[in-house]
């Protein structure tokens, strides 16, 4: 790959700004055209999809690129969600004097929401730094357990906060320190304004575009290649002069930042509850499923998996108790047949579709080997089909 010429100041500004502009344009279209035309039900599902994309792509940065398996993503989400909720709830009472939705589309209330989400992201990134530093001596399953433990610790700590959310009058009288301890405890932080609903998906889509673009640029940048090197072989990467510690910590922080933003969006979506119980291990697993199914290190894969994982349960609503069983089986089967996830490191447009077709033909045969009770005749028939296919190709 040839090095691009370094852009000048103007070029750099334009190059940094245009993704945001694309994001604004897409979010605006989503808000004014799509949300109105597809109706509230589908629009609500689409918001869930958007939040799932933010969380999935952000987890992909640390799990996929850097290969550091983290099981505590919901913990970062909780940090971001609670930070954003506290800022928006108490902030809107202190600033606007009301806890209702304030200011209309893109009004001051929503700007507060945006600020809250970003502040939540920053808080989550700081937490990510805290988690990342001690975890760096660990790898693989140990890291998974420690991040899981950190997620649980965050949950336990939030549960300890005061569980009576103050009324408006009390908030006006209270000082900031009291408010910080007043996050709803085990019952959840309820009563905040819900800026994101079926008619108002703007911020979700803005952050979807931003997280995807950041992840994409990261992947194809020098730093992203460093992360991939760490993923493939940490010791070799170190020997090549990559500062693995720095790379891993920065991946952790970037991932946590967007998880925090995702948490902030989640906290303000109509119909979600911001309860410690909802942001536990199970939520982390949901996000991990998106990353693993989509491909460990593929942005478009994570997007597709996020869409599928959110929409399919809606379609098969009557089989909802089989949802997690299906996910679990999908995880196991994908790991056995396609260990790198559906798309692997590749993006959708980089995939060699003919190879996938061949893989689909050979897959049953590869799986059949491990099924102990499969009748011998069926097994040999499959093997023959595979051999014939390979002869055709040669």
């Amino acid at each position: 790959m040839t090095a691009r010429p370094t852009p000048g100041l103007v070029g750099a500004v334009v190059r940094s700004a245009y993704p945001i502009l694309i994001g604004f344009a897409l979010a605006y279209v989503m808000q004014t055209v799509v949300a109105v035309s597809i109706g509230d039900y589908y629009s609500k599902i689409f918001i869930d999809v958007g939040i799932a994309i933010v969380l999935g792509v952000s987890l992909g940065i640390v799990n996929g690129y850097a290969g550091q398996f983290s099981l505590g993503h919901a913990g970062f989400m909780a940090v971001g969600g609670y930070t954003a909720a506290a800022i928006v709830y108490y902030g809107s009472i202190k600033l606007f004097g009301t806890k209702a939705i304030y200011g209309g589309s893109l009004g001051p209330g929503e700007l507060l929401l945006c600020a809250g989400c970003i502040a939540g992201g920053v808080m989550a990134a700081l937490t990510g730094w805290l988690v990342g530093l001690p975890s760096l001596r660990l790898r693989g399953d140990y890291l998974a357990i420690v991040t899981l433990g950190f997620g649980e610790i965050i949950r336990v700590l939030i549960k300890q906060t005061d569980d009576v959310v103050l009324s408006q009058k009390q908030v006006e009288a209270a000082d900031w320190w009291t408010l910080l301890d007043n996050l709803g405890g085990g019952f959840g932080f309820i009563g905040g304004p819900r800026y994101i609903d079926a008619r108002n998906p703007f911020w979700v889509w803005l952050f979807v575009v931003i997280v995807c673009l950041v992840a994409y640029r990261l992947k194809y940048s020098n730093r992203g290649r460093q992360l991939l090197a760490v993923r493939e072989n940490e010791i070799a990467a170190e020997a090549m002069g990559i500062r693995t510690t720095k790379a891993k910590v920065s991946a952790f922080m970037t991932s946590a930042f967007f998880a925090g933003i995702g948490g902030g969006l989640y906290a303000h979506e109509l119909g979600n509850s911001l309860r410690p119980a909802d942001l536990g291990f199970q939520k982390s697993i949901d996000i991990v499923i998106i990353v693993v199914l989509g491909g460990m290190g593929s942005i478009s894969g994570a997007v597709i998996a996020a869409i599928a994982v959110t929409i399919l349960p809606e379609v098969f609503r009557s089989f909802s108790e089989y949802r997690m069983i299906a996910y679990a089986l999908a995880l196991i089967i994908v790991m056995i047949l396609r260990p790198q996830g559906l798309l692997g490191l590749k993006e959708l447009w980089e995939v060699d579709w003919r190879a996938i077709g061949r893989g689909l033909v050979t897959a049953p045969g590869r799986f059949a080997r491990w099924l102990p009770g499969l009748p011998g005749r069926l097994r040999s028939a499959l093997r023959e089909a595979i051999d014939r296919r390979q002869e055709d190709r040669s």
């Binding site: 290969g67 398996f69 001690p134 001596r137 660990l138 693989g140 399953d141 140990y142 998974a144 357990i145 420690v146 899981l148 433990g149 950190f150 649980e152 610790i153 336990v156 700590l157 549960k159 300890q160 072989n233 010791i235 070799a236 119980a277 536990g280 291990f281 199970q282 697993i285 991990v288 693993v292 108790e321 089989y322 997690m324 069983i325 996910y327 679990a328 089986l329 999908a330 995880l331 196991i332 790991m335 056995i336 260990p339 080997r369 491990w370 102990p372």
Partner: protein, 306 residues
């Protein structure tokens, strides 16, 4: 003083429970070098299978005969051992040569599968149930004003007995020699005539049987079984895993020492500091241990190769 003795006995029983579960983690880790995430679900299944068997045999109420408990226990252990064998055969064996991350994700998948299958109405259902009283509730003896029920004594005795048997099995028997050979280097062990796959299967069977014993005793001690996907089971498994890591994973004695240590920290922390933060102390100990002595208390330092 009474409080101290009470907490001490609770620590002892909880530590024995953790030890039973931690032994399964430590055995599998010792031989395959991966964390069997589904182990806590085998514990859960053991308890629920015991509940089902006790119901089928008509021991659902109080006043069950003396032989009820051993029969239920052995049946649950056998069923869980079969479950462990099946899991290893279908999910882990195809990945014997795969990177550890893939095995980890598969283990998570297996865990999710078991949790959610157990929740189905056709299997165990979603409602928590009362575990039948298979052991007499009369306190066996009193010490410094603390009543010690039979369940607690059974838990501790069984844990001690199983640890001694396992210790003998791993370090004195031929099977144990094969296990240690596989854990050291499975390819060379295979060249020396050790049936690697069979040894691994047996390890899973033993670990799962121990897990079922832990699950049954958990049910008898606390009297209630939550649905299989309940966070409580995950937490139970996690703490047992922490115990295995703190003691030095892959080490039988280490699992026991770690289990007692974790139980001490949890129970005394809950009793004398703050009951809500008990989980926090446990994970705090895990992180401290991983930072200060990653090999655990009784583990030996090994150099990780590329």
């Amino acid at each position: 003083m009474t409080k101290f003795v009470q907490v001490f006995f609770q620590t002892l029983t909880l530590g024995s429970l953790y030890a039973l579960i931690a032994l399964g983690y430590t055995l599998v880790y010792g031989i395959l070098r991966f964390i069997n995430f589904a182990h806590s679900d085998v514990v859960t299944f053991g308890a629920w299978i015991a509940f089902t068997i006790a119901g089928v045999l008509g021991w659902a109420g109080t006043g069950s005969p003396v032989f009820a408990m051993p029969i239920v226990m052995i049946a649950a252990m056998a069923a869980s051992a079969a479950l462990g064998f099946t899991i290893e055969r279908l999910a882990y064996r195809p990945l014997r040569k795969a990177p550890r991350l893939n095995v980890l994700i598969t283990a998570i998948g297996v865990s999710l599968f078991l949790q959610n299958t157990g929740q189905l109405q056709a299997v165990f259902g979603k409602d928590p149930v009362k575990m039948p009283r298979l052991l007499s509730e009369e306190p066996l003896f009193r010490l410094a004003g603390v009543q010690v029920p039979l369940v607690d004594v059974a838990l501790v005795l069984l844990a001690v007995a199983l640890v001694i048997v396992l210790q003998w099995l791993v370090y004195r028997s031929k099977l144990g020699q094969a296990m240690r050979a596989v854990s050291w280097n499975d390819q060379i062990a295979s060249l020396m005539g050790v049936p690697v796959d069979r040894v691994i299967s047996i390890t899973f069977v033993i670990g799962s049987a121990l897990a079922a014993a832990g699950g049954v005793l958990y049910g008898l001690k606390y009297g209630q079984l939550n649905q299989t996907a309940d966070a409580l089971w995950v937490l139970l498994g996690l703490k047992a895993f922490v115990a295995a890591v703190v003691g030095g994973i892959g080490n039988v004695r280490g699992a026991v020492v770690g289990a007692l240590l974790i139980a001490t920290i949890e129970m005394f922390g809950a009793a004398y500091l703050s009951p809500q933060l008990a989980d926090l102390y446990v994970f705090g100990v895990l992180i401290l241990m991983l930072l200060l002595r990653p090999a655990g208390l009784l583990g030996s330092d090994t150099v990780e190769k590329v």
